[in-house]
Amino acid sequence: MMLNLKRYDRQIKLQGFGIEAQEKLASAKVLVIGAGGLGCPVLQYLTAAGIGNIGIVDDDRVSFSNLHRQILYTTNDIGKLKTEAAFERLGSMNPEIQINVISERISIKNAINILSKYDLILDCSDNFPTRYLLDDACRILKKPLIFGAIYQYEGQVAVFNVEDNKGFSTHYRDLFPQPPKPGEVLDCNDAGVLGVLPGIIGTLQATEAIKLITGIRETLVNKLMTINVLDYQTAIFEIPAENLADKNIPFLITEFENMNYEVHCGIKQIGIKNIPPAEFNSISKLPETIIIDVREIDEYPKLEIPYLSIPLSQLRENSTQIKHKNVIVVCQSGKRSIAGAQVLQEILGSDYNISHLEGGIKQLNKENNE
């Protein structure tokens, strides 16, 4: 398709940009993993800037608690697939580009096939299993990866798998070689997030994508940028290459396809039963059963059935309060509960049946409302 010079006039005019850079954007194929807080600004700016081919991967639906930061969506979109709501909105923003939606969760089964069709991948996901999965897949397929992540008022941005002028490239695993334990790092569901923060970090990811595609300026290759929006403390750190060869990580597609990233990130644990939200009500009514909420005392929503509240940080010293044989640990999103279940399994031993609520109270309420 002929470039619409009027639409892109104000950036084509830029010194150092021109029609040449605009043509590079038009022929670029960019894949955005996650159409949430980071994904929304990324998709809006990449669409507006005229990226020729954009892929969107997400299996989630729009919910009320998304709307304060996921500004692609309106109140009328609640319940719709994010990919479908995004497709409609972005299509009207710029009908001159191609948008492909994949309404699936990225996994070891579909990642290689999906990623192979694109030149550049943006990690806008919201969990460690997906972040490590993408880092490994991009390293194996040699695809540039623009990473963004947020925590409350702070964000991180980096560009991985791109060689600097010395021919040297780094990966997320050079920064954090192994995932943290479940519950160690809280996500937006658990810790909250200021709505504008993903807007800022996502916009930086989109900026890096445009710079990388057009080559107008060097990007955050082998660098980690951090920003705190409370005091505007900003820093850029150099990332060194670690010796990944001796780490227990996949290097071949076949090795990648045999990974279990939930186990790798400790989300699934041997010996601890995962209770799906649909079965929670019936299992919690079995005799000799107690529910332990390991969230902090001031976290909402509260459960509507009897439970014992022991925050994760105090679980070890308070575990003697537990007398029931069947223990179900719950939290907001199912990460601290698995950490809590592990602590209890270690202290209480095999005489107890320790389980946790998969996806947490958030998922439980979501399914109950459907």
Binding site: G148, E184, F237, I239
Partner: protein
Amino acid sequence: MIKIISFGRLKEILGSDFEFEAQNSDELLTQLNEKFPILKDLKLRIAVNQTIISENTELKNNDVVALMPPYSGG
């Protein structure tokens, strides 16, 4: 004196930026681990003057040490 800045949850544990005395990064971490035992359980990276380090690194007066955890949110 070395200036310590921390990020994310580490800021909640260590408090705001502060000054500290240590000869090298290993010694610094040992002392911080003693003062804040919960640190031992957390994954973190250390940067000295904006370069992330992989090995024990000598610290000089006025060096800035940053302690960073991974973030997962999106």
